[in-house]
Symmetry: C2
Subunit: 408 residues, 2 copies
């Protein structure tokens, strides 16, 4: 597996671009993105489970179901949610405008939106700049970066990646970009993730690989427990690499699926690290649970606890909060048999043994927890094999600042 550097433009046949069209007030901030493949793509997607759904999501779900996509058009600064029939109309119109530019079917254009809820999408801004958007496309890192910038809201870092793998001797690429830093919680809260690949993969296999990858990455991510109305992860496979088509769960499928998962995990970690106001990436690993689902539920309960997150911000080895969060996770385990250790590149320290305080140096624990990436490792010791890793971040002053004044 080789790392590449042009994100969604790394796979053959994809171009991307991004411009400012006037949805965001600040003209230095791009707000409209496009990813395009001349070759039609097999799509697969996963969407938010929030009952309140953004209009763009409703339209994209329909277009993905139709089976063949050429493009993704996405705006930031406005979620086009709680905007009723007019919102759905706006999403359809945006897809149609892109379709016109490239003489493809409107149903081959996916639409995504992120930003404030309840404000009508300013269609005139989009309409008047749609040609500039099409013109902005290019097939290198610059195109990728422009598109990525155009989907960012409170994000402070670029979260992207691209890799090359080998399927039956043919080099194949996967590239991705994500946005999302607040309102992130399983499952898939305010995040957009666009993935491109030049692999030749059947729809069924693409869906299977995506479901697995998302289940082990974005769905194990928690920033603030809120789940957005607009989340989507969308992958387009255009087959330009010319590999033998992956249509069954053969060896090529495993290689592809593993690569996709590892790319998504690296993005999930980047998103956690860029959690709104976050100063630390928190990894919570649970082992010894009855099964993987139980382990995941327990780990998420710890990673999502406001008290635990605030303690991590303070580099305070308050392991009692981890036990407390395990206790209310609603999962069966022996509360008398829990081992907890904190770790980072500065070392590892066992702070709780058999649910009792272990002898440890507070000073050493503080040093370990003061690193930018910290781990809470929880062993339920009973010998069961259920294990899972989830990602989160600390809860900080900056989170409050960002979200107390989001619309200002």
């Amino acid at each position: 597996m080789k790392e590449l550097h042009s994100g969604v433009c790394a796979p053959k046949g994809f171009r991307a671009g991004g411009i400012w069209c006037g949805i965001k007030a600040d003209s230095r901030k791009r707000d409209l993105a496009l990813i395009y493949s001349e070759r039609p793509c097999v799509p697969a997607a996963m969407f938010t489970t929030n009952a309140v759904k953004g209009a763009s999501l409703l339209v994209t779900r329909e277009h993905v179901a139709a089976g063949s996509l050429h493009a993704i058009v996405a705006n930031s600064g406005n979620a086009n949610t709680c905007t009723g029939d007019a919102g759905v109309e706006a999403a359809r119109r945006t897809a149609a405008l892109i379709a016109d530019e490239f003489a493809v079917s409107p149903k081959s254009v996916a639409v995504a939106s992120t930003g404030v809820i309840g404000v009508p999408l300013p269609m005139s801004a989009i309409e008047s700049e749609i040609s500039s958007l099409a013109d902005s496309l290019c097939g290198d890192a610059a195109g990728h970066n422009a598109a990525l910038e155009a989907i960012m809201t409170t994000d402070t870092r670029k979260k992207d990646g691209a890799i090359e793998i080998d399927l039956s001797g043919v080099p194949v690429r996967i590239g991705a970009m994500t946005k999302g830093s607040g309102m992130i919680h399983p499952n898939m809260a305010t995040m957009l993730c666009f993935i491109t690949t030049d692999a030749d993969v059947s729809r069924e296999m693409l869906e299977k690989a995506l479901r697995r990858a998302v289940g082990h990455s974005f769905n194990r991510l928690t920033v603030d427990g809120d789940m957005s109305t607009n989340d989507m992860t969308l992958i387009l496979a255009n087959g330009a690499a010319g590999n033998p088509p992956v249509t069954t769960e053969n060896e090529d499928f495993t290689v592809f699926s593993d690569a996709l998962e590892s790319l998504c995990i690296s993005l999930a970690r980047k998103m956690a690290r860029d959690g709104e106001g976050a100063t630390r990436l928190l990894t919570v690993a649970v082992r010894g649970a009855k099964d993987e689902i139980c382990a995941e539920t327990l780990a998420k309960s710890v990673a999502a606890s406001s008290l635990m997150k605030a303690a991590i911000f303070g580099a305070d080895a308050n392991w009692g909060r981890a036990l407390c969060a395990l206790g209310y996770a609603g999962v069966d385990f022996d509360p008398e048999k829990v081992d907890v250790s904190f770790a980072s590149r500065a070392g590892s320290v066992l702070v709780c043994k058999d649910s009792h305080a272990a002898q440890f140096s507070e000073e050493e624990a503080k040093r370990i927890l003061s690193e930018e990436e910290v781990e809470i490792n929880i062993d339920l010791t009973g010998g069961a094999s259920g294990a899972a890793v989830v990602w989160g971040c600390d809860l900080t002053y900056e989170y409050i600042k960002i979200n107390g004044e989001y619309r200002s």
Copy 2:
């Protein structure tokens, strides 16, 4: 219903006291409380559902089950949780020490603890001061206040109350104290609530009344979504008022039960207002849900949303976050038919009609949300009758400060 001012000492025959024994480092802060009734009391209690349970809770559950209590002894500064068999032994020993002082059965003494998890309870401090604690008892507001101070941790306000009602012509009193400001979430997270009454009520009726009162008050309270290992609400009824015994769901039961509920609701509101770092009391009311449970679930989802709470801190009329939180509550409702208004004593403003932005003045909304007590009123409009009110608070810089450095 008349308001009284001496809390748990308002009902006849109850005395209370509180001292510093050395569990807290600061000798100006009381850390050991006692409530005592010479007459044996009928008890009823509700405990945390956290799988990790404090040692004192395990012991108290056993003593309540035994059926007759004289006293509650409670310490702050140490939760006596994750302390294993030695912790249970310490809780039993504390009960026995009090029992010795008053020549009653150890099983007639309830024990409660709140504070840091995982640190052994310093029994020698408790032992050496147990007589002073017994000596501190007095039957007026001073005794109540001393006991109340001794159960407080990060609390910044006293949360107590007492009322007098009339049962078949006989005046009867109910008094209460609570502690708890962080780690509060349904059901009953780090809170202690001790209630006394001189009513003559059967165990069965007392349990029924308590369950109803807690269900409509403390279990509708959310501060940070964390549920503690040590929560308990405990009521003692000593019968000293001499009312006709309440043994069935007669009219007296209704009066008693309603009074208890209203007292608990007033305490729940005080706890929300004193949520760690809180600057505002947030009330979320949902109506038009399928049933009361659905309404409660939806309201809690909004009140517990970190994004909504941060917006309330910023007095930002970001109603989209309310819709978003409704959407992930996991309850069936029509996401296209939601009305939302914000209210306070400064007025009321409809901000969302049929899930769309209503025309409203941002300035007016900000003025309304800048009050110390604010309401989010949500109407699902379909005409169904399920309604519920829950309480929470805003999420602030101060919350982070308190919980980033709790053990420091």
